[in-house]
Symmetry: C2
Subunit: 231 residues, 2 copies
C-alpha cells in the first residue's frame, strides 16, 4: 500500500466488470453469471472480479472473463470507471467496466467447460442485477449504439463470412431500428473494408446471397479512413 | 477495506489526474503543476491526487482541480483508467484520468489565488512529465481531436460571445490543420446550435465580424440532433 505524508492515501479495492454482448435469434443479449458469494449471493451479475496486485486492469478483465466463462482472446474495450462510494456494501470498491462483442457460434464452442453458472439474457429483459450492474449495462449499450456508427466494432458479432443482410441485421438489432437496405449497402461497400467471396448463402426461396469477409483484422475507427457512417 | 473468503481483495490507491486544455495565442496548451512531494519531486505533472474514502471518483477530480488550480465548476469528462502495475514507484496506484477545456480569459480571473506552482505548456512542447502523465496527455489529445467532430466540447474554449473565425480557429488548433472557411461555416450554422447576436467585433482593417453565442447550455452530442460533422 502506498502512503504519503499527508495521510490521504487509502486502500480501495479495484474490480473489473465485463459487459459481453452477442446476438442470438435476432435479439441482443448480454452474458450474466450467478453470484456464488455474498453480497447479492444468488443474484445475476456481470462477469468480473477483483484486480490482482500484480496484473494490469486490462489483464484482470480478460482473466475474469476467461475464468468465469471460458471465453478468451477477444477484443475488450474499456468503457467507464464507476466510483460512487456506496456502490458495494462491503466497502469501497471501484469498478473499471469493459464491454465486448462475440459471435454466438464461436462462443458456443468455447463455453463448454465453463464452471460458473452463466447464461445469455436479452438486454431488453434483464433480471434484477447485483450492485450497479444494470447501470453499467445501460451505459455499455449506449456506447455500443454510438460506436457502431464510426468503428467496425459490430463485425465482432459476425462469423468469418457473412451476408450483407446479416451485417445489416446486427446494426438493426443494436440500434433497435430498421435501416434502409439500399443506403446501408451503399455506405458499407463504400468503406472499402468488405471483400466479396465467391461463396453464396441460400435464403429460403430467395436468390442466394453473396458471402463477404472483413478485410481489417482489428477494430478500426472509420474516421481514420476519412469516413463517418451516419446510417 | 473489503475482504473476501478467497483472499483476493487487495488495497490499491486510486488517483485522479486531469488534463486541462486551453487555447492561448493560437496554441493548444495543457495545465501542469510542479510536484512538491516525492516521487518525481520538482517534476511537472498533471493536477490530481488520491481519491478520498468517502468521495466519488468524479468528485475527487473536481476537488483536486479546485485545490491545485482554483478552477472550479467546469465540465470534466472521464477519459480512461490507467492501471499498469508499475506506473507508480510507491506501489499500486491506479489513476482515473479526466480531461476538460477552459476558456483562457475565464481561467485568468479565477486562478489568482492558487497555491501550487502551476503553468500552461504548449501540448506540442511539454517538459518531461512525472509518472505516465505524458501518455495520458497524448491520449487526451487523441480523444479531444475525435470528440470535436461530433460533440460541442470545443465551445468550452470560447468566451460567451465569439466570431465564427474564432470558433474555426479553435478547431484548427486542436486538429493541427487548416479547415476550409466556407465549408466550416456552412456546417456549423446548419447545426442550429449557434445564435447570431447584434454585436460585432472589429478585426483590424477587415469588416467587423458578427458575434455569436451558443444556444446549448451543456456539452451535447451532435448525433443526437441527427448530425455528424466531418469537417
Amino acid at each position: 500500500m502506498p502512503t504519503s505524508s499527508n495521510g490521504q492515501f487509502r486502500g480501495h479495492a479495484i474490480a473489473v466488470d465485463v459487459v459481453l454482448f452477442t446476438i442470438q435469434g435476432g435479439t441482443l443479449k448480454a452474458l450474466l453469471v450467478k453470484r456464488r458469494q455474498p453480497p447479492h449471493r444468488g443474484a445475476w451479475a456481470l462477469p468480473g472480479g477483483i484486480v490482482g496486485t500484480d496484473e494490469s486492469v486490462d489483464d484482470a478483465a480478460l482473466r475474469e472473463l476467461q475464468e468465469e466463462t471460458n471465453i478468451g482472446n477477444i477484443y475488450l474495450e474499456q468503457l467507464y470507471t464507476f466510483g460512487e462510494p456506496a456502490r458495494d456494501p462491503r466497502g469501497r470498491v471501484i469498478t473499471v467496466a469493459y464491454y465486448a462483442l462475440v459471435n454466438w457460434q464461436q462462443f458456443q464452442l468455447k463455453a463448454r467447460q465453463r464452471v460458473t453458472e452463466a447464461d445469455w439474457f436479452p438486454v431488453k429483459r434483464l433480471p434484477p442485477l447485483a450492485f450497479d450492474h444494470r447501470r453499467i449495462v445501460d451505459y455499455a449499450l449506449e456506447r455500443l449504439q454510438h460506436k457502431i456508427n464510426y468503428t467496425t466494432v459490430a463485425f465482432q458479432l459476425l462469423p468469418r463470412q457473412f451476408t450483407l443482410t446479416e451485417l445489416q441485421g446486427s446494426y438493426e438489432v443494436i440500434l433497435s431500428q430498421r435501416l434502409d437496405k439500399r443506403n446501408f449497402r451503399r455506405k458499407m461497400l463504400q468503406l472499402g473494408i468488405l471483400k466479396g467471396t465467391r461463396e453464396f448463402k441460400a435464403h429460403g426461396r430467395q436468390r442466394p446471397a453473396r458471402l463477404y469477409t472483413f478485410t481489417e483484422p482489428k477494430v478500426v475507427k472509420l474516421q481514420e479512413k476519412g469516413i463517418i457512417v451516419p446510417f
